[in-house]
Amino acid sequence: VFIFGNVQQKTMEVFYDGSAGKVGFAPGGCS
């Protein structure tokens, strides 16, 4: 598989909603 690793996830807020079956990405999530 294509694996989206943690270096590429840096500083984004990665939001998992397992019930609704979706993932969200928001830039500048750490500050």
Partner: protein, 421 residues
């Protein structure tokens, strides 16, 4: 230290390496009825108390990348061998009965959070991992072996809320899907075993315990592994926090309160901090795409990527390149692995746009590296991903490059060997 233009990032070269001291995030972590937030730190950075432990000295970048490759190999193996896993029972005293190809490598590029376990509560720093399911910690009396960890090893005999799971319990059998291994039995107690792709492993008793996330959020009777034989590259942490999609993951076990919602932000460098939040809502500027399911590995979080752009230009990659391979998002894999055709297109475009900078030798799996020692500022093309839902997400400047030193800074992507990987 990054200036934005439309299609590129302008980066101060000195900011490519982490600071020697911890510079915590300015974000205030709020907790309320709906959510619980924990601080995230890099395992080997100055913000981690583990990094001060001489027994958990930071690995080199080459070691980190080799361990990352072990994790990726094991994920591929786990997916391709999913129908044949779980063939042997596990025993507390015998790690060799665990199939080496199952589970996923812990690796070194990992992030940790501190949670409380037991009554009274003991604080434990656990690697958090969306690519695995079982939460475990080292337990006294360490019947076979415990590696050196920074905090005191958890002792279930000193906790009033610990209970062993019986091997006749149906939940014991659930370990097969969560670990890839058939559980064992010792004096009627359920025995779990998980082995990671780099040969790290944990074997021990499967039990329940009180898990405290924050001062206001605690859960009784959370299933977890009480490790009696733990060996490998856990770097001074006390174990793992499994955030996968299996019913034994912490996400599933706390679903009644948080509805399987969690989020995190991984810090820009090992000298800053991020967060892991259970529950709550997404930022207003979040873009959403559906989760997909990889049939051979349903506990992974699948994503439907459709394209890549570099410097504002979408690369000519057939959508079938992405759909053939499938994709997952994993907090425990360091470097993104692309299908071979996608990686070669990304690399060619990136090298073209970076042609004014001198290239240097490869760093392990990273084959596009530059010597920036003659520069104070560099311009790096933006890289973005598109998804089947139609959204496009630009990754941060800190996610494009991996710096070993200023004279060896590499494109932080690698290709898979096989288009179907």
């Amino acid at each position: 230290k990054v200036a934005e233009s439309h299609h590129s990032h302008s980066i101060e070269v000195s900011s490519l390496l982490p600071s020697a001291s911890c510079i915590p995030s300015t974000k205030v972590l709020s907790n309320n009825d709906d959510k619980a937030s924990l601080k995230v730190v890099h395992k080997h950075g100055p913000c981690s108390k583990l990094s001060q432990d001489e027994a958990s000295a930071a690995p080199t970048h080459t070691e980190i990348l080799l361990q990352d490759q072990s994790r990726v190999k094991s994920i591929h193996s786990r997916l391709s061998n999913s129908k044949t896993s779980g063939g042997k029972d596990v025993k507390v005293t015998d790690s060799t009965t665990i199939p080496a190809k199952d589970g996923s490598t812990v690796g070194s590029g990992n992030y940790i959070v501190t949670v409380g376990l037991g009554t009274p509560k003991k604080d434990l720093s656990l690697i958090f991992d969306t690519g695995s399911d079982i939460t475990w910690t080292q337990c006294q009396p360490c019947a076979r072996f415990c590696y050196k960890q920074k905090e005191q090893i958890f002792d279930p005999s000193q906790s009033t809320s610990y209970t062993n799971i019986s091997c006749s319990s149906s939940i014991c059998n659930s370990l097969t899907s969560a670990t890839g291994n058939t559980p064992g039995c010792a004096s009627s107690a359920c025995v779990y075993g998980i082995q990671y792709g780099d040969s790290s492993f944990s074997v021990g008793f499967f039990g329940t315990e009180k898990l405290t996330l924050t001062s206001t959020d605690a859960f009784n009777n959370i299933y977890f592994g009480c490790g009696q034989n733990n060996q490998g590259l856990f770097g001074g942490s006390a174990g793992l926090l499994g955030l996968g999609r299996d019913k034994l993951s912490v996400v599933s076990q706390t679903a009644q309160k948080y509805n399987k919602i969690f989020s995190y932000c991984l810090p820009s460098s090992s000298s800053s901090t991020g967060f892991l939040t259970f529950g709550g809502s997404a930022s207003k500027n979040a873009k959403f795409t559906p989760l997909s399911t990889i049939s051979a590995g349903p506990s992974f979080y699948g994503l439907d990527f459709t394209g890549i752009s570099v410097g504002g230009k979408k690369l000519a990659i057939s959508a079938s390149v992405f759909s053939t391979a499938g994709a997952i998002i994993d907090s425990g894999t360091v470097i993104t692995r692309l299908p071979p055709a996608a990686y070669s297109a990304l690399r060619a475009s990136f090298r073209n746009l970076m042609s004014k900078y001198p290239m240097t030798k490869a760093l392990s799996i990273l084959d596009t590296c530059y010597d920036f020692s003659s520069y104070t500022t560099i311009s790096v093309p933006k890289i973005g991903f598109s998804f089947s839902s139609g959204i496009e997400v630009d990754i941060d400047a800190t996610g494009i490059l991996y710096a070993s030193s200023i004279s060896q800074v590499c494109l932080a992507f690698a290709g898979n060997n096989d288009a179907t990987d």
